[in-house]
Symmetry: D2
């Protein structure tokens, strides 16, 4: 995982705004190299393009492929201290083999056999799980067992101890999302191990965190103030589904609420401040009605989409993919994205949008507005 | 509603830090009066006491009495444009007959006969309704019909058009809470009339606002940002009750969450920012288990409590009252409040706490901590 | 300072939206009175007018008159513990003799003879001093001596111990501004005495607070975060004057910055967050060029203006006054205010605007825009 | 500037928590590679270390060397459209030859000959200039000419048009700081060209921005609200120097304010909100008295230090360098830093701290406290 850079960019290349290559210039450039210096004028095109030109590319991963390899790993690779998790990450083909879905986001399939424990640890990186299928694992976050079921979105904000254990008779796989690439790049990574197995092996339907916090518009009086990350350990599918259905029903009745024709969307939030679930990660669920299509839209920052249900077509720039349940697509910064569906589509999405909003660097551009499908 | 002040305080009264009364001093004080001036040294004891010494007092109103008078008003007083609402307000005995529950809060019983319409208007004052019993009225807020049922807490934030209509065969009464006294004192009152009757007479179970916003931890992607007041038109009893039950059950299991032994409490919040429902009003529901008692606690700012269910004893300073369903108690600033119950008690509470927090003037003092009742 | 209210408003007065007076209605109203209740329908006109209709009125006080009476008080009234300060407050003629300039603001002349000490105390009310003339007093805030000189604006945020002592050969008078009326009304007043005399009698030119904080755009690294009130003990006239001159010079050169033609204005701020100096008080200095006039402008909330230099005309609603150095004018909520001058005018202004902005209750309306004077 | 990654990390390496290498495992790993996947268990040590283990290293660059090479570039490399700036950037030896001082920060020497113009452009990246010596260049920011003089700190927040022109008889060099590496990594880069030369060639002492905003504790009433970046175009040395002198004088008198014994520090701030000058960059000036030393301190996030005056020793981890005027040192995330001086030292510092604070990822650890030097 070490990067090397060829010195070719330092060679005297003629071009607009660049000096003629001469022996003297060559000597100057050699001086730069010796003194660990790089001129702006040879690099500015790459460094400061007129609009974001990310190295990361759009790409689709098939869930079936991920699952097949994860199953094989389930046979060959034990889960335990050291390796910590049986997780296999998307490696964006534009990022030189690094296990990064985008420059800021990590996306992996995690796989746990019946009876297995993923050992307890904590880290400064923020994490979530999204369950595209299956159930039977409990993730225990700071001692609070959280059931994982299809459609659920589950949080492990930074520096909370957590382990997982599979109580079912069958293996379970799910999507892990983290901000590993961002925190690795900026250098804010802390990690600590806990016990090798999870202490509280109870299997409640609802976590204690949900019982305290997952009541609409209510918060415990004993917990005032704004918290950096959401205290809601699990956002259950029944609520997400109901909210999406409500939006589309409102649209049918002629009232606002959807983001576009046939396109409902809810954002998972931190009820202590109404903002995103974690400081670096935004998460949303989108629903497209049969026949609907989204606007074609660019935004600064990258995202990963996973099909939760249905089938459709995702277009990013010039690439276009058919997608079905569990398939994943990466969307690099400022690449135009459009989605359409024949029979309807539910999509989970996570992105690094909070980072850009906090830096006042967020920008959005609609290339083609949503079309009106009845 | 005009206040007069006796000039007695300007007389030359001897006392610590006050000059001896002499003819010259008397002449000086006459000069002050003529020039519309008042010296600090004669007033400072009243103006700047060592701790808040509010004019408002603690008092209990019986719901049965309010209801009886409201029913009689239902026979004698029409509802319509001009009078606007058949509402009868608590007039704190310390506030000289003004219709103020406290210096900042208005609390009234509102009463609507079958078939009646309270005409549409809007005002800058923030309002809520709390339903201690009955159902059958819809409050229509900016065109969105909101059902009112026992236990529900309903919002009409400032400058939203709203009217009420009773679709039931029976009258309905409820508690109105507003910040009329505060906004009247500081001079921020705007008012505008709308149609005499409510346009949308449909009677949906859930308002459109709830369908968009009342999903736990979720918000519509189409509605970003922080809103000054909560967009949740109604907080339903089933959710409030569940949240209180969950807190007490967690306590039974040995986990934190309640505010004290046997004392659960939830705050109604603005899901767009996690703060209070409206800029000037905090609202909460408290539940005391059989045999429980709260801490004795003072806080800067005033509040009004209404019994939702059960019976108990409320002590404020040296006053103590038995309270049952619907009864109301005012608690002035910095007065020590304690509540206890034999058979269990559910209490709705609203206060002006957001005002003090926004001004960094909030203070709390626990005189006697919660006792441990099993 | 006790208010009484005549029960006349409870009588059965016919009017739009009011029921016909009958014996039965009369009996109902008597029932209300007995039970400490007041109906909305008889009060709504006063309580909820279509726009703010403050009891407070616009009024002008002459500085010469204030100073004459303060001098006389300097002969007759000692300064010391109990009376605390030789301060004489404006009593707005609309507020029933209470020592309130407006419902939220206190404005007083304070007077200290040579060698006198105003004893040390602290209170939750926020205070400032503005010096229209003279010098020689040091106000010692939490042990930090702060020189007071013509044009200076000085802070004593809530709960800081402070005393004053006059080191000059001559008496000194200045304007005190506080939020006494607001905090008295809402019940947030705390007060504590300190030593009878000021401990540190040194007379530095600059306070320690200024040395730490009064450098443009800089803050000490040792003091991070946002502070509720400004840590700048004194805003010196030389800086205020320079900022106003710069604004007018920029206007001469064709660049923006003034609030209107010939009308420059700076706001005193809390450098730790860029907001107002204290949670309840906004303070500004305005300069009108010879021949200039301001827009006619209403805003929710009240203010007090004091002429610092020059002469002009202040119009509030239908009232109009000539004003010169030291004269004070109160401006109630939502009253249209316009100022004009022949030979130029410098005006100090303080208001309760932060209260309304924090409650999202601020509104402004321009009745007549600023005219263009070259 | 393209990174390549060797696949070695995917090989079956035995180790704690890693499976035994077998042909089956090898095949699984080949499957991962083919499907653009990377397992966590082979990478976790690098990706999620127990504490930040940055690739960037601490390094010192000599100003004399930079200046010599910049002068030579001044002879050989024209300034103009395309190359845009004659700037030569520090390339951290740990970052594979990329022109990055740290993973988030760019630091370069910029050089302009007499009469030269750096053409007008704008970009989303935030920029500043710090002048260690010389004068005579004006940077024109959105049409506002800003003089550059020794000790001045000058801002060009993102998306403001700016160009530079040298009006002196001599060349001028200065330090440029930007967030190019961060915005390049996260993909938020926009760039636009303006005119080839600067339109307003006037040479005022103070910019218009300073005349509006650089008055201590004051802001123009015409410019309300919080701005994303500071509107102060230039922080002048005379103010910075005075603030540092004041802190040390206060310490001599026994009062708080310095960050440690003999160690004064001021932060450049955004007066509209009291925060950092730009969303991604913190800037400070530190002064060490003769004989003083700082604490040894780690913080999450990286920084660049430049000596403004004096001489001393900088230790980062196990590295230690003597530094004098203009010398630059990079400090990677979480590396322990200590500075000491014999004869006194003034240090300019910039860092990415705002990024971490906005993400709630800031951490500080003091390894050795400041020693007490008289």
């Amino acid at each position: 995982m070490t990067a090397t850079v060829s010195p070719v960019s330092l060679q005297a290349v003629a071009g607009p705004g660049r000096p003629e290559p001469t022996p003297a210039l060559h000597e100057l450039y050699r001086g730069f190299e010796q003194e660990l210096l790089v001129p702006l004028w040879t690099e500015i095109g790459d460094l400061m393009p007129s609009a974001p030109r990310p190295s990361a590319v759009a790409h689709r991963w098939r869930w079936a492929t991920l699952l097949r390899l994860a199953e094989r790993a389930g046979e060959l690779v034990p889960v335990g201290r050291g390796g910590e998790r049986r997780a296999v990450a998307l490696a964006n083909p534009g990022l030189g083999g690094l296990p990064y879905a985008t420059p800021t986001l990590w996306a992996a399939i995690q796989y746990l056999n019946p009876g297995e424990d993923a050992p307890v640890h904590r880290h400064s990186q923020h994490a979530f799980r999204f369950v595209v299928e299956g159930e039977g694992v409990w993730t225990v976050v700071d001692g609070d067992p959280v059931a994982m079921r299809r459609g659920d979105f589950l949080l492990t904000p930074g520096w909370h101890f957590h382990g997982h254990h599979n109580q079912a008779e069958t293996p379970m796989a799910w999507l892990d999302g983290l901000d590993i690439p961002l925190s690795h790049h900026i250098g804010s990574t802390f990690f600590e191990t806990g016990p090798d197995t999870v202490a509280d092996r109870s299997t409640p339907d609802r976590s204690r965190a949900e019982r305290l916090w997952a009541h609409p518009g209510l918060r415990p009086v004993s917990r005032p103030g704004s918290l950096p990350s959401s205290p809601v350990a699990a956002y259950r599918w029944e609520h997400t589904d109901a909210a999406l259905r409500d939006q589309l029903a409102l649209a049918d009745e002629g009232f606002p609420g959807v983001v576009g024709p046939g396109h409902a969307a809810v954002r998972f939030t931190n009820p202590s401040n109404g903002g995103d679930v974690m400081p670096t990660i935004r998460a949303e669920m989108h629903r497209l009605r049969p026949g609907a299509r989204t606007a074609t839209r660019r935004e600064v920052g990258s995202s990963v989409w996973q099909v939760f249900d249905g089938a459709g077509t995702v277009r990013v720039g010039d690439d276009e993919w058919e997608v079905g349940r569990g398939d994943l697509v990466t969307v690099p910064s400022w690449q135009p994205l459009g989605v359409r569906t024949g029979d309807g589509l539910d999509l989970f999405r996570f992105s690094d949008a909070p980072l850009f909003e906090r830096l006042h660097a967020d920008r959005v551009q609609i290339d083609t507005p949503e079309e009106n499908h009845p």
